[in-house]
């Protein structure tokens, strides 16, 4: 249990990298990239977890009564979830353009086109 979360984070990241490298479709590759991103969130939140801690929100919790988990890593992950989605959208827009210009979304075929 001590290192399981970290190992899962590493596994998710590497699985995403593998999919990215072997992908035959650029849309699939973008999906794999978002899997990689998910790995980083798992790692960040795992680092910030504290046994028996609760969420660092004090609207219904008296400060100092219970330990809270680390809010800094949560803030990092939170902003990246949303910003990452728009970057995914940008990549997909590029894929649409590639499909328009070259008529294919297979990275191997694209390499052949260029010579």
């Amino acid at each position: 249990m001590d290192v399981l979360p970290y190992l899962v984070a590493g596994w998710v990241f590497l699985a995403g990298c593998y999919g990215l490298a072997t992908s035959r479709n650029l849309i699939h590759a973008v999906g794999c990239l978002s899997v990689c991103q998910a790995g980083t969130y798992v790692l960040l939140l795992a680092v910030g977890y504290r046994d028996g801690g609760t969420a660092p929100v004090f609207s219904d919790l008296k400060p100092g009564t219970r330990p809270v988990v680390d809010p800094v890593v949560q803030a990092l992950a939170l902003t990246d979830v949303v910003v990452g989605a728009t970057v995914t959208a940008l990549l997909l827009a590029l894929v649409v353009q590639v499909a328009k210009r070259h008529g294919t979304v297979d990275p191997d075929e694209l390499g052949e086109l260029r010579g």
Partner: protein
């Protein structure tokens, strides 16, 4: 509880990578988004869970599906695009 959620995340991430058809991958990614939201909630990060639920389960798969539809419609326009 956390361990179960972690293993579910690992399994659905692997499934998402192994699904080669982008349209199906979008659906698996949305499952991954929900599982991640559950994991984040058990890790006491409701903020991140909320945004992961909105983004990972709805927005990203939707964008992927729209792209799939746009890209597929071009070479075979005579077929029904839906």
């Amino acid at each position: 509880m956390i361990a179960v959620a972690l293993l579910l995340v690992a399994a659905s991430a692997t499934a998402a990578v192994a699904t080669r058809d982008p349209a199906r991958q979008a659906l698996v990614l949305s499952v991954l988004g929900v599982v991640l939201a559950v994991l984040f909630t058990t890790l006491q990060a409701p903020d991140v869970g909320l945004s992961q639920l909105a983004v990972g389960a709805a927005l990203t798969p939707l964008l992927l599906l729209l792209t799939v539809r746009k890209v597929r419609r071009r070479p075979r326009r005579e077929e029904d695009p839906r």
